[in-house]
């Protein structure tokens, strides 16, 4: 039966052990991809014909921004699953996502500012893309603040899940902000229907960084998830097995 498989999969001891086993399979490839991506972005990729070496900020800015959106989407989906089917592990996934997403949103904003100053002549502008990304940071911080403010984990799970689900409307707003409104920010050059608007020597390091950050997210999530699962299990006997080492 599909449902017995599902319940086994969502059972805390199974999740804890599986997460522990899977972590290195994501962490090491992530380290390799990021190292190769950094080398490619800083050394091998050519300077841009307009932006010169300033364009190299792309290789850290775009992956950070991608993380900020992907992590939020994961968080909202997990929160919705937790709300609908009352699955503790799903809430644990959502809670694990928030600090990861918040920190990469911060990185996206800072690297964006450092790119904006030399190219647009300003660190910050109340532009649709920049403003909606700042709102995303506040959503993450609000989510974490709400959780921290509620003592009871179950109530914290449910209240913060509602916030996460409602806030997901911001994700398409951020993504499409550059096409819907006049924005300083350039339009997508990779995630678009046409083929990517850059040569392979630039595209390859960027894809390596995007892949590396995604793998890093999974590894971080797996580590944090184990902590969140432990915190949600009070007297379960399997805990003795996994912590008494």
């Amino acid at each position: 039966m599909a449902w017995t498989w599902f319940h086994r999969f969502a059972s805390p001891p199974h999740v804890y052990r599986l997460a522990a086993r899977l972590t290195p399979w994501f962490a090491w490839p992530a380290a390799l991809c990021i190292a190769a991506g950094l080398w490619g972005g800083l050394v091998l990729a050519p300077p841009d014909y307009q932006q010169g070496d300033g364009v190299r900020i792309l290789y850290v800015h775009a992956p950070s921004a991608w993380m900020s959106l992907m992590v939020y989407t994961t968080m909202a989906v997990a929160a919705a699953i937790g709300l609908i089917w009352r699955i503790k592990v799903a809430h644990a996934v959502a809670a694990s996502c928030a600090p990861i997403g918040a920190s990469f949103t911060f990185a996206a904003l800072v690297t964006g500012a450092l790119w904006g100053e030399p190219m647009w002549g300003t660190y910050w502008e109340w532009d649709p893309r920049l403003t909606s990304e700042l709102v995303l940071l506040f959503l993450y911080l609000g989510y974490m603040g709400l959780r921290a403010g509620i003592e009871d984990t179950q109530r914290a799970d449910r209240a913060s899940a509602v916030l996460a689900v409602v806030g997901v409307v911001n994700v398409p707003i951020i993504h499409y902000s550059v096409t819907w409104w006049n924005s300083l920010h350039q339009a997508p050059s990779v995630m678009r229907m046409d083929k990517p608007a850059m040569p392979p020597s630039m595209l390859l390091p960027l894809l390596l960084m995007l892949l590396g950050f995604t793998l890093l997210f999974v590894a971080l999530l797996l580590v944090r998830l184990r902590g969140e699962v432990l915190a949600r299990e009070r007297a379960a006997s399997w805990i003795r097995e996994v912590v008494s080492v």
């Binding site: 850290v60 920190s103 690297t111 432990l230």
Partner: protein, 54 residues
């Protein structure tokens, strides 16, 4: 080599951008491991309070 560090005049923007991003990467690794270690210590403490051998 010095032209690499100079980044065609964009050094003041490129290097801080890389520094901030890598700092966020390494802090995330550190924070995640610390969160797990704390949860494990807390779980161990709970077990001991219940008088169970840990």
């Amino acid at each position: 080599m010095s032209s690499f560090f100079d980044m065609g005049g964009y050094a003041a923007f490129v290097w801080p951008a890389y520094a901030v991003t890598l700092a966020v990467v390494f802090l995330n690794v550190f924070w995640a491991r610390r969160a797990l270690a704390r949860s494990r210590a807390e779980a161990r403490r709970r077990l001991q309070m219940q008088g169970e051998p840990s």
